[in-house]
C-alpha cells in the first residue's frame, strides 16, 4: 500500500537560506563595508560570529553572501589573480574595477554551478571609494551604495530614503548600523554582531558592534 510520509522536521517548502545582510556604502573619504555574522544551515546557526568581510587586496574587500563554500572559493581565486597582477605590474596595485571585473568573470562563466552574491568595494587615491555589486547571475553593477543578502529585502525602503552622498565617516557608520540592525531584526537568517571595514586614505579600520549596541539603533 502506498504510504504517506510526513516529515514534521523538514524545511518548509521553498525555504532556502541566502542567510545574510551585507552592504557597502561610499562616503566623502572612501567606502565602508558592513555585514552581520550569522551562518545558517536550515534553521541551525552553524556560526554566530562569522566574518563575511574578506580582504582581496590591501584596500579592496568584498562582502560575501550565498553559499559559504562558493564565495570563499571565488574570493580566493580573485585574490590570486590580483596578486599576480601586482607582481607582473611592478608592484602597482590593481583598481577596484579590475577586482570587480574578475569577480564578474568567475560568477558569470560558472553561473550554473555557483550560488554567490558578492559586493566588491575598495578605495584608491585616484577614484576614491567605489562599490560594485555582482548578484547571482554574474552581472556587474556599480552603485554609490549596495545592499544584498536575504535580510536586505527588508531595508530597501529605509536605505533609499536615508542614504545621502558624501556623508561623513560617523554618519555612514550610523547609516550602516541602523540599516543592518533592521535587517537583522526582521530576517531570521541574519544576526549576531555587525562587522564593518572602513577604507580611506589613512588606512584600514575594523569595527565591531555587539547586539546591545545596535539593537536600538
Amino acid at each position: 500500500m502506498d504510504a504517506i510520509n510526513v516529515d514534521i522536521n523538514h524545511l518548509k517548502k521553498g525555504e532556502v537560506s541566502l542567510g545574510t545582510s551585507i552592504m557597502a556604502v561610499t562616503f566623502k573619504d572612501g567606502v565602508i563595508l558592513g555585514a552581520d555574522s550569522r551562518t545558517t544551515t536550515g534553521t541551525y546557526i552553524a556560526n554566530r560570529v562569522t566574518d563575511k568581510l574578506t580582504q582581496i587586496q590591501d584596500k579592496i574587500w568584498c562582502c560575501r553572501s550565498g553559499s559559504a563554500a562558493d564565495t570563499q572559493a571565488v574570493a580566493d581565486i580573485v585574490k590570486y589573480h590580483l596578486q599576480m597582477y601586482k607582481a607582473n605590474n611592478n608592484g602597482k596595485s590593481p583598481s577596484t574595477k579590475i577586482a570587480a571585473s574578475i569577480f564578474q568573470e568567475l560568477c558569470y562563466n560558472n553561473k550554473d554551478n555557483l550560488s554567490a552574491g558578492i559586493i566588491c568595494a575598495g578605495y584608491d587615491e585616484k577614484n576614491g571609494g567605489e562599490v560594485y555589486t555582482i548578484p547571482l547571475g554574474g552581472s556587474l553593477h556599480q552603485h554609490e551604495y549596495a545592499i544584498s543578502g536575504s535580510g536586505s529585502v527588508f531595508i530597501y525602503g529605509y536605505c533609499k530614503k536615508n542614504y545621502k552622498p558624501n556623508m561623513t565617516k560617523d554618519e555612514t557608520v550610523n547609516f550602516i548600523k541602523t540599516s543592518l540592525s533592521q535587517a537583522i531584526k526582521w530576517d531570521g537568517s541574519s544576526g549576531g554582531v555587525i562587522r564593518m571595514i572602513v577604507l580611506t586614505k589613512s588606512g584600514i579600520e575594523r569595527l565591531l558592534f555587539l547586539p546591545d549596541e545596535y539593537v536600538n539603533a
Binding site: I4, V6, I8, K12, K13, G14, E15, S17, G19, S37, R38, T40, G42, T43, Y44, I45, R48, V49, T50, D51, T54, Q55, Q72, D76, S150, F154, K185, W186, D187, G188, S189, G191, G192, V193, R195, I204, R206, L208, L210, P211
Partner: protein, 281 residues
C-alpha cells in the same frame, strides 16, 4: 476461514459484499453535490505550517515545574511578530506551552477555553474555585485525544505541546503531546530546537525522576534561562524575549513572568575572529 492477513478481522466478502470505501467520505453534506472524486484515501488537508512558534522548554524541580516559551511568531524566515504569547493558562494551575503553527495554537486555545467553560458550570461562584476540578492530566488527555483523532483524519493541528501542572493527587504533572498524537512524560521536556539543544543541558541536572528532589527553584529558573540563551544563540527562528511560568506544588500557585530577556550573552570574543582561513587584517 480466510487465512489471508489482508482479510483478517473483516466479515467475509461473500456474505456482506466488498468493503465500501465511501465510508471514509461519509458526511451529512448533500450527497447530490459531488465535490470529491473517488479516491482510496480520506479527504486530506495536511497543511504546511505558516506562522510558527519555536521551542517550548520545561523542567520539574523539587517543588514544582518551570516552563518557558519565547514570544516570536515567524513567517518562514521573516521574524514577523515579537509579542506572541505561547504559554496558555488553563483552569486554576495548568500551563500549556505550544509550538508549531500559530493558527492551530489559537484553535487549541478556543478548544481549551470551551473546556474551561464547561467545567465551570459545576463549580461554585468563587472565582478561585471555578473549573477547580480541571487538572493537568485531564487537559493533557483531552488534548491527546483531539490531536490523535485529527491526525487520523489526515488533518492535523500542526503543533507540539507541553502540558505542565498538577494531577488529581496534587503531584507535579509534566507531559508532551504533538501533531501525531505522540504523548510521553519526562522530568525534562522540550519541543523543536529545544529537543536537540536544551534537553541535554536540562538532563545534566535532572537525568531521571530521582534527581528532581535535588533541584531547587532558583537553580531550575537559572537552568531554563541558560537554555533560552543557548537557543537564542543557535536557533535562527528564536527571540531573546520570552515568557516563563513557575508552578509550585506546595500551594498550586502559578508565577507568570512576561517579557523576560535573555541576559549574560557572550559576543565580545567576535573581535578576535578575522577571515576564514589565511590570516588577514
Amino acid at each position: 476461514m480466510n487465512h489471508d492477513p489482508f482479510h483478517w478481522g473483516r466479515p467475509s466478502d461473500a456474505t456482506y459484499g466488498p468493503y465500501n470505501h465511501q465510508i471514509a467520505h461519509a458526511s451529512n453534506v448533500n450527497p447530490m453535490a459531488r465535490q470529491q472524486q473517488q479516491s482510496d484515501f480520506p479527504t486530506m488537508h495536511t497543511q504546511r505550517p505558516m506562522m510558527t512558534g519555536t521551542s517550548v522548554l520545561a523542567i520539574k524541580y523539587q517543588d514544582g515545574i518551570v516552563i518557558a516559551a519565547d514570544n516570536m511568531g515567524s513567517y518562514g524566515s521573516l521574524m514577523k511578530l515579537d509579542n506572541v504569547e505561547r504559554l496558555l493558562k488553563v483552569g486554576q494551575s495548568t500551563i500549556v506551552g505550544i509550538s508549531g503553527d500559530l493558527s492551530d495554537l489559537q484553535a487549541i486555545q478556543r478548544i481549551l477555553n470551551d473546556l474551561e467553560i464547561d467545567e465551570a458550570y459545576d463549580a461554585g461562584d468563587d472565582e478561585d474555585t471555578i473549573a477547580a476540578g480541571l487538572k493537568a492530566n485531564h487537559v493533557h488527555e483531552y488534548l491527546t485525544r483531539i490531536l490523535y483523532n485529527r491526525r487520523s483524519k489526515m488533518d492535523p493541528l500542526w503543533n507540539a505541546c507541553v502540558v505542565a501542572g498538577f494531577d488529581d493527587e496534587g503531584k507535579s504533572f509534566l507531559k508532551y503531546v504533538d501533531l501525531l498524537g505522540v504523548a510521553f512524560a519526562s522530568p525534562t521536556l522540550a519541543t523543536g530546537f529545544g529537543a536537540h539543544l536544551a534537553i541535554p543541558l536540562l538532563r545534566q541536572r535532572v537525568d531521571s525522576e530521582a534527581d528532581v528532589k535535588n533541584l531547587t527553584k532558583a537553580d531550575a529558573i537559572q537552568l531554563i534561562k541558560d537554555c533560552m540563551k543557548v537557543l537564542f544563540y543557535r536557533d535562527a527562528r528564536s527571540l531573546d524575549k520570552y515568557s516563563m511560568a513557575v508552578l509550585s506544588e506546595s500551594d498550586h500557585k502559578v508565577e507568570f513572568h512576561k517579557n523576560v530577556k535573555v541576559e549574560d550573552m557572550k559576543w565580545g570574543f567576535a573581535k578576535g575572529i578575522k577571515g576564514y582561513g589565511m590570516p588577514q587584517l
